[in-house]
C-alpha cells in the first residue's frame, strides 16, 4: 500500500510523462492539426491527473502542458514567448481547469471517505447492537431456564418431602413411646392398633418415595434419550391381561369394559413398557373418576400398520387448554390451580413417562373427550413393528427424544 506522499509523487511523474507523450504524439502531425485540438488533448491530461491525484500534481501538469503547448505548438515555435493574447487565455484555462478539477476530485474523495467511514460506523454499531441483543436474549433464556429448573426442583422436593414428613412424624412418635419420653407432656400411650398404623404409614410412605424415585430415574432416562426398549413380537391381549392383573386392587371400585377388536395383529413392542403406560392410564382413570363408574379399554386397528388403544373414564374431564400440558413433567392440574377440587394428586410424572415410552415406539399419545363428551379418553397409537425385523428377535434400541 502506497502512502499519500508516494501517491502524490506518482501523480507528478505521471503528469510529466502523459504531457510529454501527448506532445510527442501530436508534434509530428505539425500543421495538420490546429492549436485548439492540441490544447484540448493536453487539457484532458490535466483533467485526468486532477481527478486521480488532486490539485497539486494537476497544477504541475497544467504548467508543463502550458509550457509544451507554448514551446511546440504556438508560434513562434521553439520559444517560450507568448505572442498572441488568446494564448494567455489558453494558459489561464489550463490553470483554472487544473485547480477546479483538482478541488472537485479532492472533495469527491473526501465525501467518499466520509461515506465509507459512516458505513463502517453503522456496521460497527449494528454489530454491537446484535451482540448486545444476543447477550440479552441469552440471559433471558438462561433466566427462563433457571426459573423452570427451580420450579421443577420445588415440585421434586415437595414430592420427596411429603412422604418424608409422614415418616419422620411416625417414627418420632414410636421412638418417644419406646424411650418412654415425657418431655412436658403426658406419657405416650400408643395402643397396638396405633402402633401398627404408624408402621403402616412408614411402610407405605417408603414405597411411595421409592416409586417416586423410580419415576424420576425413568424420566431422566427418557430425557437423556437413553430409554432402552426391549422389543419383542407379542399380542395386545397379553399386554392387557398382564396389566389388568396388576391393576386388580386399584380397579376394584370401578367397572372395566372392553372394546377389543378380534384378531389384532401381533406387535413388536417393549411389552413391559407398554403395560406400564396402560397401567398409568388405568390408575389415572380410577383416581379421577368416581367409584362405581365405568372405565373402558379400547384396542383396534387404526391406519395401515398401526394399532390404536385408549383408556376412557367417566370423570370430570380435562379442560381443552390443559390437554397438552398434562403430559408436561410434574404438571398437576390441581396443584397448578386449574381444576382446584379436592381430587387426588399424583406425582405429575406418569403421563410424561407414558408419552416418552409411546414416542420411543414411534407412536403418538393425546387426550380427547370421552363418549358423549363425558370424562377423558387417553388415546395412543403403536406401529405394529418394523417389516425388516425378524419376529421374536430381541433388539435393544436406543432412541433420542426431543421435547
Amino acid at each position: 500500500m502506497l502512502s499519500d506522499h508516494d501517491q502524490k509523487w506518482i501523480g507528478y511523474v505521471v503528469a510529466g510523462i502523459s504531457v510529454a507523450l501527448t506532445t510527442t504524439v501530436l508534434k509530428p502531425l505539425g500543421t495538420h492539426i490546429n492549436a485548439t485540438t492540441v490544447a484540448l488533448a493536453l487539457l484532458l491530461n490535466v483533467l485526468f491527473i486532477a481527478t486521480r491525484w488532486g490539485s497539486l500534481p494537476a497544477l504541475f501538469a497544467s504548467v508543463v502542458a502550458m509550457l509544451c503547448f507554448n514551446f511546440f505548438f504556438l508560434p513562434p515555435f521553439g520559444t517560450l514567448t507568448i505572442a498572441a493574447p488568446d494564448n494567455w487565455i489558453a494558459l489561464t484555462a489550463f490553470l483554472a481547469t487544473a485547480i477546479t478539477a483538482g478541488q472537485l476530485s479532492a472533495r469527491a474523495k473526501r465525501r467518499a471517505e466520509e461515506a465509507e467511514s459512516g458505513r463502517q460506523e453503522i456496521e460497527r454499531l449494528y454489530a454491537e447492537l446484535r451482540d448486545a441483543f444476543e447477550r440479552a436474549s441469552h440471559a433471558e433464556a438462561l433466566r427462563q431456564s433457571e426459573k423452570l429448573k427451580s420450579a421443577l426442583l420445588d415440585a421434586v422436593t415437595h414430592d420427596l418431602r411429603t412422604p418424608l414428613t409422614s415418616i419422620k412424624a411416625s417414627i418420632t412418635t414410636l421412638l418417644d413411646e419406646a424411650k418412654e419420653r415425657f418431655d412436658g407432656d403426658a406419657p405416650v400411650i400408643l395402643d397396638h392398633e396405633s402402633r401398627i398404623e404408624m408402621m403402616e404409614v412408614i411402610d407405605q410412605e417408603s414405597d411411595r418415595l421409592n416409586r417416586f424415585i423410580g419415576g424420576l430415574i425413568e424420566l431422566a432416562r427418557i430425557e437423556a434419550g437413553e430409554l432402552q426398549l426391549r422389543r419383542h413380537w407379542g399380542s395386545i391381549d397379553d399386554i392387557l391381561s398382564t396389566t389388568l392383573e396388576r391393576a386388580a386392587t386399584i380397579t376394584k371400585d370401578h367397572t372395566i369394559e372392553f372394546e377389543i377388536e378380534s384378531e389384532l395383529p401381533v406387535v413388536r413392542v417393549d411389552e413391559r413398557a407398554v403395560s406400564e403406560v396402560v397401567y398409568t392410564l388405568i390408575e389415572n382413570a380410577t383416581k379421577y373418576s368416581p367409584p362405581g363408574t365405568v372405565i373402558r379399554l379400547i384396542a383396534q386397528r387404526a391406519a395401515e400398520g398401526v394399532i390404536r388403544m385408549a383408556v376412557e373414564d367417566q370423570g370430570p374431564g380435562i379442560p381443552s387448554h390443559l390437554r397438552k400440558r398434562v403430559f408436561d413433567k410434574f404438571f398437576r392440574a390441581i396443584r397448578d390451580g386449574d381444576i382446584g377440587k379436592d381430587e387426588p394428586s399424583g406425582s405429575g410424572m406418569g403421563l410424561a413417562i407414558a408419552k416418552g415410552i409411546i414416542e420411543a415406539h414411534g407412536g403418538e399419545i393425546w387426550i380427547e373427550p370421552g363418549t358423549d363428551d363425558k370424562g377423558v379418553r387417553v388415546v395412543f397409537t403403536l406401529p405394529i413393528g418394523d417389516d425388516e425385523a425378524e419376529p421374536m428377535r430381541t433388539r435393544v434400541q436406543r432412541v433420542t427424544l426431543t421435547k
Binding site: R161, A186, E197
Partner: protein
C-alpha cells in the same frame, strides 16, 4: 391445661393427618382433622378447638386464607406446617396472625413443644386487655406508667421507641413476630418496609438487655422471618 386440649389439624396429605391424629391422641389430646381449609373452618366453627395446626398449600382455601378467616373471628393459637420454598407465604401467614411455624419434615417432639408453648401462651393471655399498668414476664418487670424496666432485678434505661418495642415483645412472648408486624405495631403502617429501623433498635435492645448481645437469649432471630421473644433466659 394442655392435657385434653382440642386440636384441629388441617392438611391435604392424608398420611400426615393420620400420623398426627394418632400421635397427638397418644399424648392425650382430643384431635380432629380436615383435608382442606374450608372444611377446617367449618369444623372450627362447630367444635371450637383450643389450637389449630394447618398446612399452607391446600385445595379449597389454603392455609393463608384459613389463618385470615380464623383471626377475624378468634384468637385461637395457629401453628403453620410449612416447607422450604414456602417462605414468602409462611411470612404472610404469620403477618395475618399465625402464631408459630414448624418446617417439614419435623419430629413429633418439635411440634409438641411448639404446641405446648402456644397453648400455655393462650392460657396466660388475659381474656380482655384491661388497663394493665405492670407487666411481669419471666426475668422482666415493666411499669407502663413510669416506663421503667428491670431485667432480672437490674434496672435498664430505654429510649421511648426501645421501650415500646420491648413492651410489644413481652406482650407477645414466644410468638414469632414478622418484621412487618413489629414495624407496623411500633412505628406505624408507613414503616413496614423499613427493616433497617428494626435491626438497629433490636441491636440496641440486645445491648441493653442481653448478657451477651452476640448470642442473644431473650430476643431470638427467626431467619428471614422476624424475631421471637423469650422472657426467660
Amino acid at each position: 391445661m394442655t392435657e385434653g386440649a382440642r386440636i384441629l389439624v388441617v392438611d391435604d396429605e392424608p398420611q400426615l393427618t393420620r400420623v398426627l391424629r394418632t400421635g397427638l391422641k397418644s399424648r392425650g389430646y382430643d384431635v380432629r382433622v380436615a383435608a382442606d381449609g374450608l372444611s377446617g373452618f367449618e369444623i372450627f366453627n362447630d367444635w371450637h378447638p383450643n389450637l389449630v395446626i394447618t398446612d399452607l398449600a391446600m385445595p379449597n382455601m389454603d392455609g393463608l386464607e384459613l389463618c385470615r378467616r380464623l383471626r377475624s373471628i378468634s384468637q385461637v393459637p395457629i401453628i403453620i406446617l410449612s416447607a422450604k420454598g414456602e417462605e414468602r407465604i409462611k411470612v404472610e401467614a404469620l403477618d395475618v396472625g399465625a402464631d408459630d411455624f414448624v418446617t417439614k419434615p419435623f419430629g413429633i417432639d418439635e411440634l409438641l413443644a411448639r404446641l405446648r408453648a402456644a397453648l400455655r401462651r393462650s392460657a396466660l393471655q388475659p381474656p380482655t386487655q384491661t388497663t394493665q399498668t405492670v407487666l411481669d414476664s419471666g426475668d422482666f418487670h415493666v411499669d407502663l406508667e413510669t416506663r421503667s424496666v428491670t431485667v432480672a432485678g437490674k434496672e435498664v434505661h430505654l429510649t421511648p421507641k426501645e421501650f415500646d418495642l420491648l413492651v410489644y415483645f413481652i406482650k407477645h412472648s414466644g410468638k414469632v413476630l414478622t418484621h412487618r408486624t413489629l414495624l407496623a405495631a411500633v412505628w406505624g403502617g408507613d414503616y413496614v418496609e423499613q427493616d433497617q429501623y428494626l435491626r438497629v433498635f433490636v441491636g440496641n435492645l440486645r445491648k441493653k438487655l442481653e448478657n451477651n448481645p452476640a448470642s442473644p437469649r431473650y430476643i431470638l432471630t427467626e431467619p428471614w422471618v422476624g424475631y421471637r421473644f423469650d422472657p426467660i433466659e
